[in-house]
């Protein structure tokens, strides 16, 4: 009798431990799957979202991928590429670059959206930088940049003009050496992959294209090729003259990043 009740107790104990393990493990796994694999964030797997309304039946998300002679692939809306079918359906949509098998995505990032130039003083440079990263599976890409205006005093009156570099020759289209801090200005240099060849090294600077003067945004990175996390560093430099009004100066940089076509 005694050994029987002991066995029952042991059995209960085992069951309780297994149950608690199972419960704990379930909770742990569900938490991990949500926060490591982001399973709760997968939105685009489900077309029936609460966030949009489908009014028409011709929907192209990624569609089919078919291998074509010559090793490239067409990625089109299924069933509408055969000769004569265009007139029947009235549309064809092809997603992605047709010579790249996977549709892929276009990615752009900036490491730093606020570039701190510190306290500007005469006869010295203030530098700050941001890292640009671009990814695309095909078609290449272009990143351009322009400034909304030259660096402006917080009062809105005084400005630090765009850099003209040591010999006065640099513009938004021409790079030149700028190593003399006695020459005031605001400009940038580039280092990394896919940057314009004019930036021979990081002593070469250009002005930013001035959006307020309708100057064309300038290319800071480009490629015709596949780019997997291609990186370049944009370093901004400011130098104030001796008679510059004291205070904080600021402006905005606008980046425009697109893949090729």
């Amino acid at each position: 009798m005694q050994s029987n009740s002991k066995a029952i107790n042991n059995h209960r104990k085992k069951k309780a431990i297994i149950a608690s393990f199972a419960l704990g493990a379930f909770f742990l796994v569900s938490t991990l799957s949500k926060h490591i694999l982001h399973l709760n964030n997968v939105v685009w797997a489900n077309m029936a979202s609460d966030n949009y309304e489908i009014q028409y039946d011709n929907i192209n998300m990624t569609s089919g991928e078919k291998t074509k002679e010559g090793a490239y692939t067409i990625t089109d809306t299924v069933g509408q590429t055969a000769p004569g079918e265009y007139s029947k359906y009235g549309y064809v949509v092809k997603s992605g670059f047709q010579y790249v098998y996977a549709i892929g995505n276009f990615g752009f990032s900036l490491s730093n959206t606020t570039i701190d130039l510190g306290i500007l003083s005469s006869e010295s440079f203030s530098n700050g930088s941001t890292e640009i990263t671009v990814s695309t599976r095909g078609g290449g890409f272009i990143v351009r940049v322009y400034e909304t205006s030259p660096l402006k005093h917080s009062s809105g009156v005084a400005t630090i003009p765009d850099a003209t570099c040591d010999n006065g020759s640099c513009t938004e289209g021409v790079a030149a050496v700028w190593i003399n801090p006695a020459i005031e200005g605001f400009g940038y240099t580039l280092s990394g992959t896919g940057i314009p060849t004019a930036f021979v090294n990081t002593t070469y600077f250009k002005q930013f294209a001035d959006g307020a003067s309708s100057e064309q945004p300038q290319i800071v990175m480009s490629s015709e090729d596949v780019a997997i996390n291609q990186k370049a560093t944009l370093t901004v430099r400011a130098a104030a003259s001796g008679n510059q009004a004291a205070g904080n100066y600021s402006n905005s940089l606008i980046f425009i990043a697109t893949p090729g076509y």
């Binding site: 996977a102 990032s109 980046f255």
Partner: protein
């Protein structure tokens, strides 16, 4: 019986202790899981250090549709940075640059009138917040009115992205925002027939090369038509000894209407043999000699040639000639020197 009763009683209290232990264990597991959850959230903020990061899929959409038809294209977007972003979608025009064909997005152009967003909670030119790490979808509807003339529209789905809050520096600084976009080539056409309007603009090739130097050249095509076309075809190199000694297949790139675009040859991507990647036109055999013919054939999708153009380049033995000249000069100098020495010796004795 009493003994039995007193024996059973402790077993009940043991059972309660076991339940308490189980609850304790479960609580420990919950705390552990909670810790993992919090550490993951911290990782999302600190680990993905970029302040602004976004991806868009697909990177290109080629849309052909008849007047009066409607299509819907879904674009998947993701905030890949560590900070919440304010995103403002719009559809604007892009134009190709005159000589390079590079896209120039007209961020202040008038909005394209035949698109709207199907999302109930989003509109063009109205910002929304995309949380750090979050994914979302923009469902773009393109509707062309009946009786619309046949025409191409080159548009960019543009996302104006900026952090919800910029870092405060309190000193001189510059802040950044980004317009990140993907292109949509929209062709309004009743039959979607290719018109083969591509023509060779320039084939830049040297007239004379050294027999041991590689043959490099560039090719630019012009589309004088009213709709964009793809560059199918090849460039073949033939020598005196062999026809089509080397054939470069053109990368099928889109050449927009009334624009020029430099083309690339295509090679198979070594990392994924299903893909083609661009490559420069460069032929580098052991040597070339004599007249070399470079012929460009522009073809349709079925491989039927509709334009061809060829140029000749002469590969001459410039390096051997230079070496022979140097050797000859050297021998000449040595001969003169030895003659002079001989004369000096003869005069001496």
């Amino acid at each position: 019986m009493m003994i039995q009763h007193t024996k059973v009683q402790p077993s009940h209290s043991k059972y309660h202790i076991q339940i308490a232990q189980c609850i304790k264990f479960t609580l420990i597991m919950i705390v552990l899981a909670g810790t993992v959850m919090i550490s993951q959230q911290i990782f999302a903020q600190v680990g993905s250090g970029t302040q602004l990061g976004i991806t868009i899929t697909p990177p290109l959409s080629e849309i052909a549709l008849q007047p009066g038809k409607t299509i819907i294209q879904a674009f998947n977007i993701q905030n890949t940075g560590g900070y919440d972003l304010e995103v403002t979608p719009s559809v604007v025009e892009f134009v190709p640059e005159e000589f390079t064909g590079d896209p120039l997005v007209q961020i202040n152009s008038a909005p394209f009138p035949y698109t709207n967003l199907q999302n109930l909670d989003k509109q063009f030119n109205k910002p929304f917040v995309l949380k750090a790490g979050a994914k979302d979808q923009l469902v773009v509807r393109v509707a062309i009115p009946e009786n619309h003339p046949q025409k191409d529209y080159y548009q960019t789905l543009l996302l104006k992205t900026q952090p919800v809050q910029y870092g405060q520096v309190g000193q001189s600084s510059t802040t950044s925002l980004a317009y990140v976009g993907v292109h949509m080539l929209i062709r309004v056409t009743s039959d979607n027939q290719q018109k083969h309007t591509l023509e060779i603009d320039t084939l830049t090739i040297p007239k004379i090369i050294d027999m041991f130097t590689p043959l490099n050249f560039t090719l630019t095509v012009k589309n004088s038509g009213t709709t964009y076309e793809k560059s199918y075809g090849n460039v073949s190199i033939s020598s005196l000894w062999k026809k089509d000694e080397k054939v470069f297949n053109l990368l099928p790139q889109n050449v927009l209407a009334q624009s020029t675009r430099p083309l690339s040859s295509s090679i198979i991507d070594p990392e994924n043999t299903k893909n083609l990647i661009p490559a420069p036109f460069r032929y580098d055999p052991a040597f070339l000699l004599g007249p070399i013919s470079v012929e460009v054939q522009l073809q349709d999708e079925e491989g039927i040639t509709f334009t061809n153009y060829s140029k000749k380049v002469f590969a001459l033995p410039l390096t051997p000639a230079l070496i022979a000249l140097v050797v000859y000069c050297f021998r000449f100098v040595i001969t003169i020197a030895s003659k002079r020495n001989k004369n000096i010796l003869e005069n001496k004795y």
